[in-house]
Amino acid sequence: MEKGFEIKDDVNIVGFTCSYCAFKASEMAGSLRLKYPEGVKVIQVPCSSRVDPAFVIKAIFEGADGVFVAGCHPGDCHFIKGNYFTRRRIYALKEMFEAFSMKGRLKLFWISAAEARKFVEKVTEMYNHLKEGKK
């Protein structure tokens, strides 16, 4: 590909994944050779509660079509209750997104380390949804 040129129909998604659950699931998805769109890229964070709303906004500003945050199922947090904070925070942020007509561009997933298939399903679903919206 030539430099400075971007494929128009490409959808970019940045995902923040908790190292104990969702990141493990994404690793396992790879090991199982499950396929998902190349536009999905993950960042590993120690806990989903590490995700600052500024990260989400930064990603959107820099051209991400969507952002997801994925943590452990409620009650399973390695840090006891980090994911409850995440839930509250992302909920508030989602409201803001909706106010700016950006519904669907921010998602929160609960994915355990064993749920590689769920990881792939969720990100693919989000990707397809955003792609549909881009047309």
Binding site: Y20, C21, K24, M28, S31, H73, D76, A114, R117
Partner: protein
């Protein structure tokens, strides 16, 4: 405290906890696990009660900790076989079974599994799913290294692989056919052979000649089995692989088997391949020489169509040296492969060969296949003894000749045509004049009408081992004919090389470096009949493939590979044969059905029919490699392993080491409910055990977490508790302590995943005694799970499912409840290995086989210095196991003081 070391036996949650605690306190640990991975039973669980959190999430970080800790020596596939206590030290001999994979080299990439033809039941999935003979039990396995499950050594030497010019993995695909996996068999065949359908029909099957089974009774009908695999696969369904295209262009001259094979392999590697073909359609001799009744053209077209789909371009009606010159091609392409075959019929060089009605064998077949009208008259004589001669005779018969003869100068023994073909020919009514040679053709009005023949006898053997035919003087006789077909061989037509630097050998074949397949011109390769003279399809394919390898290397600037002559096949010794005969007995070959002679001799319908499934399986299981459990050493994994980690020569080792103390954490087995006949386990396939249910509902399980039984999502569930527990009749008076809760967990999983499900649980006492358990039990009831107090009497077949007969003790009524699935909450049993361990360590067991402990500490055993924790001591749940592991380590430290 320093320099102490402890042996922990068992790598489940108890052993893992104990090992991690010990190293935390500065003690060196050797952890032995009998399975290929640590994780024990807990890693098989989907969720754990009562919090329903994921078992993998909680356990796998601990497993990784074990792997990374430098003070833990992890020995998997290992068990202690000898323990001796001397003063305060234990000398232990540990048997470490060979993994056949070098743990240091293996990267855990899993490439090896894909080719392995041996499917086995996955222990991790309780036999509900399959794994290969080379496998990693589950993705989170520690160590994350492949293991080869080799149970016995392969009884035969698998000459078939060696004998095949393209080294087809014969034992591999026979095994897959035996296992009712014709599709996988096809894929395996196809991994080395781009024309399986063709080879399945016309290969001369050198594999069968050397088959070791032949020493016992009859060789396996390998080609027919290949045909079975081919017949059960639709090539149109074969996906196009991911091809990473490059810019390089390769020309292939000749669309016969060699050219097609080369084109196929290069296309897959990403090259832009153009095939030049003189005829109107690709296929070469396959298309123009082999008759329809042996190889239907439609089959060939389908195989070529697939090669087209890979991006290969065919330029037909383009004759080299005529429509386009070789130098032109060399200029346009980065590399060239010449595979024009041997198209020119040899002459007898006798009088009358130019007469009308005297045809060349190949020319005759080509004319027929092009659809040209060929008059053969009533009497037709074919000269020659090879496959082409036989083909010509049978084609002539089908074209309407009433009297077809073959004239051959030697006897049947020397005939190069295949036995089977000759039999077919005779069946169809063709006569063979053996030991006869034509002297001259006599014509009338320019057309042949008679042949003067002479009888021969056989003299001394010639260079090729066949006896030399010698004319019997004065035995001349006349044979009236309408048509003569001379099929005594072909030579390549190499006229196109004129003006280039290429040259030919004395026999007219093209000169190449036999080891690399490259000609004297760099980048120009050649193979197939043009190099070897007339040979078989599979030889041509082999040439094409080898050329493809070296063209790829050439174009990437790498050194060319040199191909050595075929290895010598190994025969079985007399003793080996005797042993095998005794072991496996005699089995007759399954005959392949074919059209009756009278039904076939007047038409071009395919003569050979294929095996049906039953016949194929029966025949395939005759293969000696199919008779053993586990790895058959076919070498597919070897081929795929890029780091060369596979080592079939690896041996079991015995490691001897001294320890200061032992911790036994061998865990448990699950009660086998087959003994409780009334519940129909093993009889009804919708009666399953709790651990099977666990795998079925697990996201890491064979169904990815969908609860599917016999292809359907069941709606009505009955969980029977206390199966194999609290049961005097089977000698298990004890309570297994975990079944009430795991069943409650299963019930909620069902309620959660299958919305309109109906769930019954039968129980005696609901033992929800742990932290949060009672609340969990309550919530399960609130979800609508129906608890019935009582033990079901029996499970019988109903009209639409299974009927569970149970007396509800609370209401006093006898109920018959129809359900789709019955899940048996099986109790806990001591691990069977504990009995051996107890024998070698003098460890006292209780009446059931759990390790006996002293009354004031649950981890102190009858042998000083040996401690126990987890289920090995008796049934308990995970928190209790973890607590006991801690206690065992604490007691162990006190002991070591």
């Amino acid at each position: 405290m320093m320099e102490k070391n402890v042996l922990v036996i068992g790598g489940g949650i108890a052993g893992i906890s104990a090992a991690l605690e010990l190293v935390e306190c500065g003690i060196k640990v050797t952890l032995v696990e009998i399975n290929p991975s640590i994780g024990g039973r807990m890693i098989q669980l989907d969720k754990t009660f009562p919090t329903l959190d994921c078992s993998t999430c909680t356990l796998s970080p601990k497993m990784v900790e074990v792997a990374l800790n430098k003070n833990i020596e992890l020995l998997t596939l290992a068990k202690p076989i000898f323990v001796e206590k001397k003063e305060n030290r234990f000398t232990v001999k540990i048997l470490k079974k060979a993994r056949y994979v070098d743990e240091k080299k293996c990267t855990g990439c899993g490439n090896c599994f894909s080719g392995c033809p041996v499917y086995m039941k996955s222990e991790f999935n309780m036999g509900l799913g399959e794994r290969k003979a080379v496998y990693i039990p589950f993705p989170q396995a520690i160590p994350n290294k492949a293991t080869i499950d080799k149970r016995e050594s392969r009884p035969c030497k698998a000459n078939c692989i060696q004998a095949c010019p393209i080294n087809t993995n014969v034992p591999g695909y026979l095994r897959l056919i035996r296992d009712r996996k014709p599709k996988e068999a096809y894929i395996l065949i196809r991994s080395t052979n781009p024309l399986p359908s063709t080879c399945a029909r016309v290969c001369y099957a050198p594999c069968e000649d050397v088959c070791n089974r032949g020493d016992m009774d009859y060789p396996i009908a390998i080609r027919h089995l290949k045909r079975f695999a081919v017949d059960n696969f639709t090539i149109e369904d074969l996906p196009i692989p991911v091809i990473q295209k490059n810019e390089k262009k390769v020309a292939i001259i000749g669309a016969g088997p060699a050219g097609l094979a080369c084109a196929h392999d290069l296309a897959v590697k990403g090259y832009n391949v153009t095939v030049f073909e003189a005829e109107t359609e690709p296929g070469g001799m396959l298309r123009y020489a082999i008759p329809e009744y042996r190889l239907p053209k439609s089959e060939l077209r389908r195989e070529i169509q697939y090669i087209r789909k890979l991006g290969v371009e065919f330029k037909c009606n383009t004759k080299i040296g005529q429509d386009i010159g070789l130098p032109e091609i060399i200029r346009q392409f980065n590399a060239v492969f010449i595979a024009v075959g041997a198209q020119k019929p040899l002459k007898l060089n006798i009088e009358g060969e130019k007469l009308d009605g005297v045809l060349g064998g190949i020319d005759f077949l080509k004319m027929v296949h092009r659809g040209e009208k060929v008059e053969v008259g009533k009497r037709c004589v074919v000269i020659g003894g090879g496959n082409t001669a036989v083909d010509c005779a049978r084609v002539a018969l089908r074209l309407g000749a009433q009297d077809v003869k073959i004239v051959y100068r030697r006897s049947r023994e020397e005939m190069p045509a295949s036995e089977e073909e000759i039999d077919d020919l005779i069946e169809e009514g063709v006569k063979i004049e053996f030991l006869t040679s034509p002297k001259r053709f006599i014509g009338r009005n320019g057309k042949v009408s008679e042949i003067e023949c002479v009888r021969m006898e056989l003299g001394e053997p010639e260079k090729d081992g066949r006896r030399k035919p010698i004319e019997i003087v004065g035995s001349n006789f006349m044979m009236p004919v309408d048509t003569v077909i001379v099929a005594v061989g072909q030579i390549p037509d190499t006229s196109f090389i004129e003006g280039s630097e290429l040259s030919t050998e004395d026999n007219g074949t093209l000169k190449v470096d036999n080891k690399t397949k490259m000609t004297s011109l760099p980048g120009v390769f050649a193979g197939g009949d043009v190099v070897t003279g007339p040979k078989f399809v599979v030889d041509a394919i082999a040439h094409g493939k080898k050329a493809a390898i070296n063209i790829d290397r050439y174009l990437r600037g790498e050194e060319l590979q040199t191909f050595e002559e075929e290895k010598i096949t190994q025969k079985l010794t007399k003793d080996e044969i005797l042993f095998l005969k005794e072991k496996f007995g005699r089995e007759t070959k399954v005959r392949v059905p074919k059209l009756e002679a009278q039904d076939r001799k007047k038409n071009f319908f395919e003569v050979m029919k294929g095996y049906n499934e039953g016949e194929a399986i029966l025949e395939a299981q005759r293969c000696l490699a199919s008779k053993i459990e586990g790895c058959i050493e076919c070498g597919e994994c070897d081929k795929r392993c890029e780091v060369k980690a596979i080592n079939h020569e690896m041996k079991d080792e015995i490691i001897e080491k001294d320890f200061d103390a032992l911790i036994v954490a061998t865990g448990f087995d699950i009660f086998d409910p087959s003994d409780k006949k009334e519940y129909g386990y093993g009889k009804y396939n919708n009666v399953i055990t709790s651990i099977e249910f666990e795998r079925l509902s697990s996201v890491t399980g064979p169904t990815g977490g969908d609860i599917v039984i016999n292809g359907k999502i069941p709606k009505r569930f009955f969980f029977i508790q206390c199966v194999g527990s609290r049961d005097n009749q089977i000698g298990a008076r004890f309570c297994s302590r975990v079944c009430c809760m795991y069943t409650a967990k299963h019930a909620t999983i069902v309620k959660d995943r299958i919305k309109d499900s109906k769930v019954y649980v039968s129980y005696i006492d609901m033992r929800a005694y742990g932290k949060g358990y009672e609340e969990f039990y309550k919530s399960v009831q609130e979800e609508g799970v129906i608890y019935i107090r009582g033990i079901p009497g029996e499970v019988i077949e109903g009209r639409d499912g299974l009927i569970v007969r149970v007396e509800d003790i609370l209401s006093g009524e006898l109920r018959e409840i129809e359900v789709d699935v019955v899940v048996l909450a099986c109790g806990i049993r001591p691990k069977k290995e504990i009995f051996e361990l107890s024998r070698i360590t003098n460890l006292e067991l209780d009446e059931y086989g759990f390790v006996k402990t002293e009354s004031h500490s649950s981890s102190i055993t009858s042998v000083q210095g040996i401690f126990v924790c987890g289920m090995a001591e008796g049934p308990k749940d995970i928190p209790d196991t973890v607590a006991q592991a801690g206690e065992a380590v604490a007691s162990c430290l006190e002991y070591l003081l």
